[in-house]
Amino acid sequence: MHELSVCLAMLNQVSDIAERERAANVTRIVIRVGPLSGVVPELLQQAFTIARAGTIAEQAELLTEEQPIRVQCLRCGSECEARANHLVCCECGDFHTRLISGDELLLASVEFNR
């Protein structure tokens, strides 16, 4: 449900950028989302189709680049691909790992016409 809040925050940012760029309309918004961000891309898409109405992004498409989950082991130094509920080291099994990617929630780029 918080995808709507996230979506409104995104549209605020996009509007600010569009205004700064003197854009006539926004054609595409690209975001980067990791599974550990807590935001579900499909729900964000749904929220977007509702929330974009009446904004400068009314005609825009929303493109999501999903990011992989990667961790680095603090014990043996290995870098591994991981799953959301399994963030331990794939080499030595230690749970002292650091997340390298997978929790992103980024506005990557905005495309527009002047």
């Binding site: 925050a9 650091r98 997340l99 506005l107 905005v110």
Partner: protein, 261 residues
């Protein structure tokens, strides 16, 4: 209270506007600008601001998260009973509706501010900021924030807290951390609550729950606790004391809590 920065008045993304960004042309003749900024940067900015308030008043802020009914308010009631003579405590209560939880806390003789979120299933940094203006922070050493009972949404919103405590009651199933990794992985302390009920529940194994938490690379303690019998309160209260000490040592810390953006 907010004398250093007026940005609580206008929510505009000034910082974003200053950012600039790389430009390029798109295939269809339009323009593209690279941004690379957190979608919740406005919330994060406010959270940083809240953290400044806490630092200035030397208040330790702890965010409590769990599903509805896991025992957050009752934990606070018992914790207040145990610590009231030692520390000055305040509470911000988040619920969809009613003042009930804040009233329960006030009955303990402690400052409590209720935030009713209406339809929003989580607290955000702006709501906390408004609540901070209704609390006398000079009077406090520990501020507990009881988030809305929800295992999904609260995890995405930094409130400016120093620490996250996530509760899992023994009536919920020991695989909850594996089902809701986003919220459990941000925990600085996981409390397995209502331990007094273990006697009548044969399918909850605390060791399994702890294992599921470790799979999320959580380093902090996992404590079995009952707010009813006070089982496990020793380690919990000791941990609180240690965190308070650590905070006084590294004052002016304005970094986000360990795993939260």
């Amino acid at each position: 209270m907010c004398d250093t920065c007026g940005c609580n008045v206008t929510h505009g993304n000034r910082h974003l506007i200053e950012a600039g960004g790389k430009h390029a042309h798109t295939e269809d003749g339009g323009e593209a600008v690279e941004v690379l900024q957190n979608l919740l940067s406005e919330n994060d900015h406010q959270a940083g601001h809240n953290r400044e308030h806490f630092a200035r008043h030397q208040v330790l802020a702890i965010n409590l998260m769990s599903s509805p009914g896991s025992g957050k308010t009752r934990l606070l009631e018992s914790t207040i009973d145990a610590l009231q003579d030692r520390y000055r405590i305040g509470v911000i209560e988040g619920d969809l509706e009613t003042e009930n939880d804040a009233e329960r806390i006030r009955r303990k003789g402690v400052q409590a501010v209720q935030i009713t979120t209406g339809t929003a299933c989580h607290l955000d940094a702006h709501m906390i900021h408004q609540a901070l203006h209704r609390i006398d922070l000079d009077e406090l050493e520990i501020l507990f924030i009881e988030n809305v009972g929800n295992l999904v949404c609260p995890a995405s919103f930094d409130l400016g807290q120093h620490l996250n405590v996530t509760l899992l009651s023994v009536t919920e199933g020991d695989d909850k951390p594996a089902k809701y990794p986003v919220i459990f992985r941000t925990a600085d302390h996981v409390l397995i609550t209502k331990s007094d009920l273990l006697a009548v529940l044969d399918d909850f194994t605390p060791a399994k729950a702890e294992q599921a938490v470790r799979q999320l690379a959580v380093e902090g303690p996992v404590t079995l606790i009952s707010a009813k019998t006070r089982d496990g309160f020793g380690p919990w209260l000791e941990w609180l004391g240690q965190q308070l000490e650590r905070m006084t040592i590294r004052q002016n810390d304005t970094q986000p809590a360990a795993n939260l953006r």
